[in-house]
Amino acid sequence: MKTLLIAASLAILAGALPTKADVLDAVKKKGVLVVGVKADYKPFGFRDPSGAIVGIEPDLAADVAKRLGVKLELVPVVSSNRIEFLQQGKIDLLIATMSDKPERRKVTLAIDPPYYSDSVNILMSKKAKVASWEDLKGKVLCGTSGAWYNKDVSAKYGVEVKAFDGSEKPLFALKGGECIGYLYDQTFIQGKLLDADWTADYAMPLPGVMEAPWILAVAPGEDGFAKFMTDTTLDWMKTGYIVSEEKKWGIEPTDYSKRMHDKLKGS
């Protein structure tokens, strides 16, 4: 009995070592593509009442699966575990609102060009008469403490940024009239503006500034899959798939997706 147990545990240990193979082949063999997406980031990835994850990124994932001719499996990820899941091989592809950072490029294989780009924008009270970023001089904005652009925006446009913890507190402050707008990620503000509660009195009148690209990622070493994803991304831009997805889910297409579409349309 004991020897059997030891043999079994040894076999498990030996088997637990990661096996390296081309993911693209493995996916086709399995017939399932596993994609990590967000489930708490409306409208990029969120739950519908049936429990399914829907949104722009699940649609992109479905398109990848369709191109490969395999079934799709979505795994909800959060910022703290998404890279780990990719490294473990638990997911084959990551489409999860991940901004492009050098330290992330070190541990994953990022796909170029970035498929999407967020920027910085302001959820502005409709009462404020602001037509451009330059008009903001001397005004007060609410912000989230820790956001990297607070200082830059404040220095560049001469606006005062009152920082609060998280995203709920500055929104409360905005409603309470402590500031004329909330300086935050454009995608987040667009998500807010899907809600009737905000569209009545607030809008996003200015163009986004300080673009921060979002990257797709595959596990390091998966060059074949990365090549396929680069081609897919370029094709999405060419056909305007991302722009149409943005419209489908009710947000204003970003400058980046429109620009990339215009650039690649004719090619």
Binding site: A39, D40, R47, P49, S50, P76, S80, D195
Partner: protein, 291 residues
């Protein structure tokens, strides 16, 4: 002084013996019954409903769902998440109990080395924060095993169950050791005088008497582990709390929904755990008297 002198003859006149001479007889245990609704419960329930429905009154007229409507819309999804919590708690409890009984038996065993080892393991897992053990299980166990060419997947929730069963195991081990220690030593001596072996004494005399002593703390432990399963949301298991925050995001992250949604999660756990707690209390009262 005068009271004593006047009271004593009065008692004797009735023909009773002095109360101190009566044998001690505890009052009979009350039969188990479901907790009755009292005014205080009513206040609690109404309060919870007001908290959940509060958003409905606060807004008025706006073209959006009230908090109760939101909860109703997502009810099936949230309940599936809650069911998952229950499943995790039951499986973690089952696994932990079996392992804990083994560890507890080693703790009271005759082999000194094994006894020390079991004691050390019990103390280690009993005094480690549950969340730390959970993190350990999540990140140390691979997501799949390959055994003889077969791939055995090891999804997150299975790892979470293992993570939760570790503290259950340690606590169960200590419950068993405590129950055995609490039996009068006369039981062991009497069994020995009747030529029972150690093993026979343990399994035929001691442990059967321990079961009822162990039952209340065991159920208490179950209640605790059920409530602890929401910690799995931190490591990304799609249980009730994870789904609650995702539902909140899907509803546009409205601040007025925060309290009702999380309040609903709290209510679910309360409704599940409160009867368990009452039943434990009843068992405790009942078993105390029969020893």
């Amino acid at each position: 002084m005068s009271e004593v002198f006047t009271a004593a003859p009065a008692a004797r006149q009735k023909g009773d013996v002095l109360p101190v001479l009566l044998p001690f007889r505890a009052p009979a245990p009350r039969a188990w019954r479901w907790p009755r609704l009292r005014l205080v419960h009513l206040v609690g329930i109404v309060g919870a409903l007001l908290l959940i429905g509060g958003g409905a009154f606060a807004q008025g007229g706006a073209p959006r769902l009230s908090a109760l409507e939101v909860i109703w819309k997502w009810f099936p999804l949230l309940m599936s998440g809650f069911g998952f919590n229950i499943l995790m708690s039951v499986l973690a409890m089952a696994l932990g109990t079996v392992a804990g009984i083994g560890l507890g038996l080693l703790q009271i065993g005759e082999n000194r080395f094994l006894r020390r080892l079991a004691w050390a393991a019990t103390q280690f897992f009993r005094n480690a924060p549950w969340l730390v053990l959970l993190f350990f299980a999540m990140f140390m166990i691979p997501f799949q095993f390959r055994v003889f060419g077969y791939t055995i997947p090891f999804p997150d929730w299975v790892k979470a169950i293992i993570g939760f069963s570790l503290p259950v195991m340690a606590n169960m081990s200590e419950i068993l050791r405590g129950a055995v220690a609490s039996l009068p030593s006369g039981q062991w001596e009497a069994a020995e005088s009747l030529a029972f072996s150690r093993r026979q004494t343990l399994f035929m005399i001691i442990l059967p008497q321990c079961v009822k002593r162990m039952l209340p703390p065991w159920m208490n432990l179950y209640s605790l582990i059920t409530m602890a399963t929401v910690q799995a949301s931190i490591v990304g298991v799609s249980e009730m709390l994870t789904l609650t925050s995702q539902v909140h995001a899907a509803e546009g992250g409205r601040p007025d929904l925060l309290a009702p949604l999380y309040g609903f999660a709290m209510l679910c756990f309360f409704v599940y755990c409160y009867p368990i707690e009452r039943f434990t209390l009843y068992l405790e009262r009942r078993f105390q008297l029969n020893q």
